[in-house]
């Protein structure tokens, strides 16, 4: 369960770049919540605040009842994050990359090895697991990054534009993964600027524009709310312009 309550974040010397303004929403366990918005809408900033990397100027947010500022390290143990930056260590094998994050989460020995092996198997990385990640394709790297983010079995999972740069086969495989994680009762927050992605996957959608929440609801609710025929039309009409959608 993620709760975001009137969160605001500005950057720049005088706080002139207002990336996130007064944003409130919640994301339930056992659901995939989509953060939909054009580039620059504040998705990454919002996710970084939830991931405790940056501190909101105002408002508060909590994950599984833990405050993202006060209990930041407890939050880090409870969440798995696939961030915008998802660099791997090219000289380490896929398994070593995954194992490293496991040890930082306090795992060791047989438990660490079996968890890593299980994730490698579910993500279809068996053939690659003991090769250096140097020459991996985008899709393969993404899978390693996901395994790394899930090694400590987190109840809450944040994903920042996870489908960026992936081919259609990898996207479908990823979707399958996320549905499975939802089925296990986890809380997933998924950001994207691609509406089809969000429509195909998310139970609830939060539309962000210019750092604010524009609308919240299921796809059907959003269509009804805007009076448009499709989700795409609803998205555009709710944002008030077609700007940024090209990206």
């Amino acid at each position: 369960m993620i709760r975001v309550d009137a969160v605001t974040k500005s950057f720049g010397r005088q706080g002139e770049v207002r990336a996130v303004r007064d944003v409130s929403f919640s994301a339930q366990d056992g659901q995939i919540t989509g953060l939909l918005g054009p580039n620059g809408a504040g998705k990454t900033t919002l996710l970084r605040m939830l991931a405790t990397l940056i501190v909101p100027n105002a408002g508060s947010a909590s994950i599984a009842g833990l405050d993202v500022v006060r209990d930041r390290y407890a939050v880090r143990e409870a969440i798995g994050v696939l961030s915008d930056a998802r660099g791997l260590y090219p000289r380490l094998t896929a398994r070593e990359n995954i194992r490293y994050y496991g040890t930082l989460h306090g795992l060791s020995g047989v438990e660490l090895e079996s968890r890593a092996a299980r994730l490698i198997h579910t993500l279809g990385l068996d053939a690659l697991a003991d090769r250096r990640t140097q020459g991996f394709s985008q899709g393969e790297k993404m899978k390693v990054a996901i395994a790394r983010a899930l090694i400590h079995d987190p109840a809450t999972i944040l994903l920042d534009e996870p489908t960026n740069g992936l081919d259609i086969m990898s996207v479908r495989a990823l979707r399958e993964q996320l549905r499975q994680l939802r089925g296990e009762g986890r809380c997933l927050l998924f950001s994207s600027h691609v509406m089809q992605e969000v429509a195909a996957l998310c139970d609830r959608i939060v539309i962000l524009g210019g750092g604010r929440v524009i609308a919240t609801g299921t796809a059907t609710e959003l269509i009804a709310q805007s009076g448009a025929a499709t989700l795409e039309d609803a998205f555009v009409s709710l944002l008030g312009s077609g700007e940024g959608l090209a990206a």
Binding site: R48, Y73, E77, R86, G87, E96, L104
Partner: protein, 398 residues
């Protein structure tokens, strides 16, 4: 979805250090460019220096002296020949040849030498040389010494002929006693040893320190790392331990290379008994500990401030330049280091390395003083790097 028990900080620090070392060991190119110079520096530098010195000694021992006007001073010629000097007739353009470095020193006997001596005046000879040529120095000194010796001998003989004791003409009996211990005579050569030891401590950790900071940022693996439960301080300490370990390895390899070369390699005999035994080797390592700890933190700082590896390299080379110029300044000054120098990082270490080489030993109080500032600085720098990693702006600008 069971909550993990929090790992103790120590195990996270160890995990970071282990991973960084493994990562470095896999990086063949960096290993090669860091380890190879460390391995070959000792043998190469020593071989070169020993050969140069042996050459100089040979030149002095087998003095070849071109002479103008040998016929005017047969007694001098006989004296020099008895002293094993090879005399040749000087070419006509001897001045140009001395200037050009082909001849080290030329003896010119004045045309009126015989008549001057016969009439009781001093006989004139000239030594022609170019003092700015280092290679010629031993020959020049040798020629001057021989002429002085001849002068003394001749004078003594004259006094004896007149029934006067030679001490009347030479009341001062100079008996030179060289107080330099064998170690001291070798100390100048071994300056290079101290310098290379110091240099290894500076250079050894650079590549890895920049890779674990600026490199981590550049390949976008820093942000996910900062989202793990590892505290920034734990990350910094873990990375520092890895860099310092690697740095220490480089220093040990470099110095062991010198030790092995001095001990076992067939170096030309130069008559300077070097003392760089296991004892000195151990002292070197102890004296260099503060730098092995401190310099990686400086490199980590440079790396953490930079967005790319390249940017970091530029600032790191500045550090290297400054640190490597300090010993040269100390050497050129040719003064005994003041007592307080041990408090100054780098200068202090260099001064102590010199003491070890001169066989003077290092008093515990001096050693403690040389540790104080670097240890405090190391702690301070680690906190500074931690602050850099905790800043939100570390995420900006990919």
């Amino acid at each position: 979805m069971s909550p993990q028990p929090s790992a103790p900080p120590r195990s996270r620090i160890a995990a970071v250090a282990r991973k960084e070392l493994l990562d470095t060991l896999r990086d063949r190119r960096t290993l090669l460019v860091t380890l190879l110079p460390a391995l070959v520096a000792g043998p190469l530098v020593l071989m070169l220096m020993f050969t140069v010195i042996a050459g100089q000694i040979d030149r002095a021992r087998e003095l070849k002296l071109p002479v103008v006007g040998q016929a005017h001073a047969p007694a001098l010629v006989a004296f020099l020949t008895r002293q094993q000097v090879t005399l040749t007739a000087a070419p006509a353009d001897y001045e140009a040849k001395v200037r050009g470095g082909e001849l080290d020193v030329v003896l010119v006997v004045d045309d009126n030498f015989a008549s001057d001596v016969a009439s009781g005046r001093g006989g004139k000879v000239q030594l022609v040389y170019d003092r700015s040529r280092d290679r010629a120095q031993p020959s020049i000194r040798e020629a001057e010494a021989l002429l002085r010796a001849y002068n003394r001998q001749w004078g003594s003989q004259r006094l004896l002929l007149r029934g006067v004791a030679p001490t009347v003409g030479n009341p001062l009996v100079v008996d030179a006693i060289d107080l330099a211990t064998p170690q001291q005579s070798g100390a100048f050569l071994l300056f290079f040893l101290a310098y290379y030891g110091l240099f290894a401590a500076v250079m050894g950790g650079m590549a890895i320190a920049l890779d674990v900071t600026a490199g981590e940022r550049e390949r976008q693996s820093l942000e996910p790392l900062l989202m793990t439960p590892a505290r920034p301080l734990e990350l910094v300490i873990g990375k520092w331990l890895a860099v310092a370990t690697f740095n220490a390895t480089i220093v040990i390899v470099t110095l062991t290379g010198y030790y092995v070369t001095l001990r076992f390699a067939p170096l030309p005999a130069v008559g300077v008994p070097f003392l760089f035994s296991v004892r000195e080797l151990a002292w070197f390592l102890i004296v260099l500990v503060p730098l092995v700890a401190l310099l990686p933190t400086v490199m980590l700082f440079m790396g953490a401030r930079s967005r790319t590896y390249k940017e970091a390299q530029a600032s790191a080379s500045l550090v290297i330049f400054v640190v490597s110029i300090i010993p040269v300044v100390q050497l050129v000054q040719q003064r005994k280091d003041p007592d307080w120098i041990v408090w100054i990082p780098v200068s202090g270490q260099f001064s102590l390395l010199g003491q070890v080489l001169r066989g003077e030993g290092v008093p515990l109080a001096q050693l403690a003083a040389s540790f104080a500032v670097p240890v405090a600085l190391t702690a301070g720098m680690l906190l500074l790097v931690t602050r850099l990693l905790s800043r939100e702006s570390i995420l900006a600008g990919k």
